[in-house]
Amino acid sequence: MPSSGSPDIPDAFAAPSPLQDAQAPVPEAVQESAQGVAQDLPVLEAPADPGDGAGWGARLAAALAAGGAVLLCLMVALAALPALFGSGGESPFHWNWHPYEGQFGILPMCAGTLALTAFALALGWPLALGLACWLLCEEAKFLAPLVRFTAGLVRFMTTIPTVVYGFAAVFLLTPLMRGCFGGTGLGLATAGLVLTLLILPSMLLTLEAGLKPRLEALCPWGQALGFSRLQLLRRFVLPEAGRTLVAAAVLGFGRAAGDTLLPLMLAGNAPQAPEGFFASLRTLSAHMAMATANEVGGGAYNSLFAAGCLLLGATALASLALRRLMAGDTCASGKARAVQETPRP
């Protein structure tokens, strides 16, 4: 019998799909082809099943959702084009935001966004990684309730509205910062600390979802060798989990860069380049929220769309990178599970 994959082999001899029933009787056409008359046979194709359709209601919902998202992106991009390419007046890519002088530079806000995001990531990512390691590896039985409580608390944190973080920080953290470091208490450090809290659960859950299957695939037999769970994680899981680690950082970046309310409430909002941890700054998202309320046209209008386009591009890139990273990571951890999985009682 000729082997499958040869150019003169009919499709009927192709390797069966995993979904095909291995016990199903061999079709007559296939039996004949096995006797050497395959060349004359038509290609076997399963008829389309009308029951497979998703339904017009579902298709319409999908079209509306996708169309809305595409329209939004198109609208922002088209509206930003004059500002981005300087056809609508002065370019917004300079350091001066003085609306009454006709200067609508958004670079201070770009720098503010980068500074605040970097601050929150620099603090939040190691914290999330450390917390994930502790939640996954704590073996002391007397600490088990604390582990469960912390894991539950982190999940609860994802449901807290951003405004609650901001409100609490205005009345608790800001006076503390003002007392300790002087100034208004509103600035990069204050907003960054609270933003760290905001992005921490998302990063932690991403890390946990990526690391846990790999670690569990090594347990308990890895422990039977004398390794602790932390040693297994450090020696065998983390070196292979680069995608998970980067994915958590990208997700944190996306959330931090896109958040509006916390910078608006806590960063001070001075349209200036970041000058220090305790100096006031303004982010792109906060700038758009503030300026939209006051400016209705002209150069300000164009610069806001440019800011929106930049923000949309940055978060979309982060989202795409995250999807790619997570897709690769899921394959990797799936393979790890398949290879390493051991039965448990």
């Binding site: 090594l218 347990c219 308990p220 037999w221 890895g222 422990q223 039977a224 060798l225 004398g226 390794f227 602790s228 040693q231 020696r235 065998f236 292979e240 790890a336 290879v339 390493q340 999985e341 051991t342 039965p343 448990r344 009682p345």
Partner: protein, 270 residues
């Protein structure tokens, strides 16, 4: 049960035979569900003890009670006494009173080597599979690790087959080779007791035979406890035999090990 108990060798009447494993009145429960009930078991300082039983009879739980691996599973509660000879005579594995000192878990598990049903290689190279546990768990200096890796692979007859593949991922080896690598890894850690949980269950006939031959040789140097549900294998390997059923010890044979047919009949009755 009667004919089995007749064969049980009383330890007290034969002091010449040194015990390496002594389990008394062992009870293990997971989340309130009792898996082992009043189990007594012992094994000699050398020799191959086989535990047979049907699925769910508690064989693996008994094995995991010896290196306290059950404690890695949620809701585990263990009662009774387990003593092992880990180089200083029989010593308690579980603290028998509040504050009683026992060996740290990491040290206990290193000294009680275990090989699992499915070949469980670490996601690193063939050599690293032995070298990393040696370095991290055993604390062997880097200068000695190369020799020890080679000795361990030679001990299981894997050196010839893997000498030129030491840097390849261990997962690229065949199932039988992976299982021998796991055995080599356990041996490299210089265990005092070796536990094997259905070590040939996932292997083809030839690989299974190679592992069985290896175990027979190792039994001259280590106390081996092998869990099996294969009557033929049990009859072939066992120097002492324990039959478990429904979480209890059903029968013990210290000599005159029954043949495969008789073991099969015992399992059927269980």
């Amino acid at each position: 049960m009667n004919h089995a108990t007749n064969h049980v060798m009383n330890q007290a009447t034969n002091p010449a035979r040194r015990q390496s494993i002594c389990v008394e009145h062992l009870e293990v429960a997971f989340g309130g569900r009792r898996v082992l009930e009043n189990v007594d078991f012992d094994a000699r300082a050398t020799g191959l003890s086989v535990i047979v039983g049907r699925s769910g009879s508690g064989k693996t739980t008994l094995l995991r009670a010896l290196n306290r691996l059950n404690e890695t599973l949620p809701g585990c509660r263990t009662r009774g006494r387990v003593r092992l000879d880990l180089g200083r005579g029989l010593e308690d594995v579980y603290p028998q009173s509040l504050g009683a000192r026992v060996r740290p878990l990491s040290e206990l598990r290193r000294l009680v080597g275990m090989v699992f049903q499915t070949p469980s290689v670490l996601p690193v190279s063939v050599a690293q599979n032995i070298a990393v546990p040696l370095k991290v768990v055993r604390g062997v200096p880097g200068s000695e690790i190369g020799d020890r890796v080679r000795q361990a692979l030679e001990a299981v007859g894997l050196w010839q087959e893997t000498a030129d593949r030491l840097r390849l991922p261990a997962a690229s080896l065949s199932g039988g080779q992976q299982q021998r690598l796991c055995l080599a890894r356990a041996l490299a850690l210089e265990p005092a007791v070796l536990l094997l949980d259905e070590p040939t269950a996932s292997l083809d006939v030839h690989s299974a035979r190679a592992i069985e031959d290896l175990l027979t040789g190792l039994a001259e140097r280590y106390p081996l406890v092998v869990v099996s549900h294969n009557p033929r294998q049990a009859a072939k390997l066992a120097q002492s035999l324990a039959v478990m059923a429904k979480g209890r010890m059903q029968a013990r044979f210290e000599r005159d090990i029954p043949d495969a047919g008789e073991i099969g009949r015992l399992l059927g009755e269980a």
